[in-house]
Amino acid sequence: MKQRYALRVNGGTRETEAEPHESLLDVLRENLRLTGSKKGCNEAECGSCTVLLDGRPVVSCLVLVPDAVDREIVTIEALAEDGEPHPVQRQMVEQGGVQCGYCTPGMIMSAYALLQENPDPTDEEIRFAISGNICRCTGYGKIVKAVRAAAEEMGNEGT
């Protein structure tokens, strides 16, 4: 039976009705029309549905809606500010880290979460942080480069 849920998404509260067994991903995409998070495998293997839950990257296909209540949800839609892409987004484009684009939102969320916690990661740490996000196009090299460049850009902004 459908229940009412109030979800804290991207700084606001969104009310929606869903079955308790529905995934956060489905509710984000279907109910709230936040279609930036992608549904790739729907079994936590590909990472294209990655969102932040209380600041930590999670695969939203495996989070049940009731488990997301009273927690801060951040999706790819919240990263750009006033139409300006976030440094991770901009560098993904600049460095050629986007090819077909399907893994890109989840990849960016994992990288964003890493940089929140570790503003100056090594390439090894970047590779570990995005290892749950599968990319079939790029071979990852340019994505790692983009995250490194974003870290540098954000570091320069901070000083």
Binding site: E43, E45, C46, Q99, I134, R136, T138, G139, Y140, G141
Partner: protein
């Protein structure tokens, strides 16, 4: 842990396009608006290969306008002419020429009208950065948009159609001799691996790839294709195993069918070799599939270099390497020291 390192080389050549007399056609329409914005209707579908970028750059270069002035409408059966699939490493090589042909014809239309507008011989005019100029100068005389406006004023479209047929001859059915493809891509890769002789696990630690691109129209995109292709080659070599049991796939999920992650793909050093091909747009040819092919042979050779055993089955799983080592040991052909 007993780690042994090895180096190996893999080389290949690969037919670009469909070859063997199979239909291999590209086509595009191009139309300029009165502000110079130019729309290319291109049937080639971009699934991450970068063909839309290539189409944009080829059209801009051939027309003499800025890439920012190009808009691409791609892969819409309702509005774009057929260009065949983006496969066989053919999109740049075949569709690139179709787009170049369309842009060249539009440029002729523009110069023809500009010559009448400026009362200047056609052969003295050129298009540079969206402006009609005198040959050898970049002093703007009239913008391409204004010329498009004049064409419209005379009841003509500022539009052109481009077509390119890359269909080749078939080989001799009796002898299999002949030139099956319009051109070929060439690539060599050097792999460095580490083999754990206790577990059989193989890691690719470094890959250097030299690929003949003819001409890299967009070097970043070419590198992306090469790195992505090599990552697929790595998956084919070490990880991706499709198991069928009585016709039922047992590896029907990414949990069992292992695709390389960011931790499996090492730094890939890309060397782009440019030997212009007269049949491609500005000398370019396909690079995508060629990049996947030499990776596994290079890894297999590197494993042989590391442990002196030829593995002959892919993917080169830890089990296969482990049992190959055990077998070699039982024959007295492998020692741990």
């Amino acid at each position: 842990m007993a780690i042994r390192k090895g180096l190996g080389i893999g080389s290949m050549y690969y037919g670009i396009g469909y070859g063997f007399s199979r239909a291999d056609i590209g086509s595009a329409e191009i139309e300029m608006a009165e502000d110079g914005t130019t729309t290319v209707y291109s049937g080639a579908c971009d699934m991450g290969q970068g063909v839309m970028t290539v189409v944009t750059q080829v059209a801009a270069e051939e027309l003499g306008i800025e890439p920012e002035q190009i808009r691409v409408v791609a892969a819409d059966t309702g509005s774009t002419p057929d260009a065949g699939p983006t496969s066989g490493s053919r999109a740049t090589f075949v569709q690139g020429v179709a787009v170049q042909n369309a842009a060249r014809e539009l440029r002729e239309e523009i110069l023809d009208m500009a010559s009448r507008m400026l009362e200047c011989p056609r052969e003295n005019l050129d298009v540079h950065r969206g402006e009609v100029c005198e040959v050898g100068t970049d002093r703007p005389m009239v913008s391409v948009g204004k010329v498009a406006h004049q064409l419209h004023f005379h009841g003509r479209r500022a539009a052109a159609w481009g077509w390119h047929d890359n269909t080749t001859q078939d080989v001799d059915p009796e002898t299999s001799q002949g030139d099956a493809y319009a051109t070929y891509g060439w690539a060599t890769q050097l792999a460095e691996v580490e083999v754990d002789t206790e577990t059989g696990r193989v890691r690719l630690t470094k890959l250097v790839s030299a690929t003949d691109a003819g001409k890299a129209i967009n070097p970043v995109a070419v590198e992306g294709q090469i790195e992505g292709g090599a990552a697929m080659g790595l998956g084919y070599g070490l990880y991706e195993q499709h198991i069928l049991e009585n016709g039922v796939p047992r590896t029907a999920s990414l949990a069992f069918y292992l695709v390389p992650t960011a931790m499996d793909v090492p730094d890939i050093e890309c060397e782009i070799v440019e030997v212009p091909d007269p049949r491609g747009p500005f000398g370019a040819k396909g690079v995508a599939e060629p990049a996947t092919i030499p990776t596994t042979p290079a890894i297999l050779n590197a494993i042989y270099d590391a442990i002196g055993i030829r593995i002959t089955e892919t993917p080169i799983t830890p089990e296969r390497v482990f049992f190959a080592i055990q077998e070699a040991k039982s024959r007295g052909e492998f020692s741990d020291d």
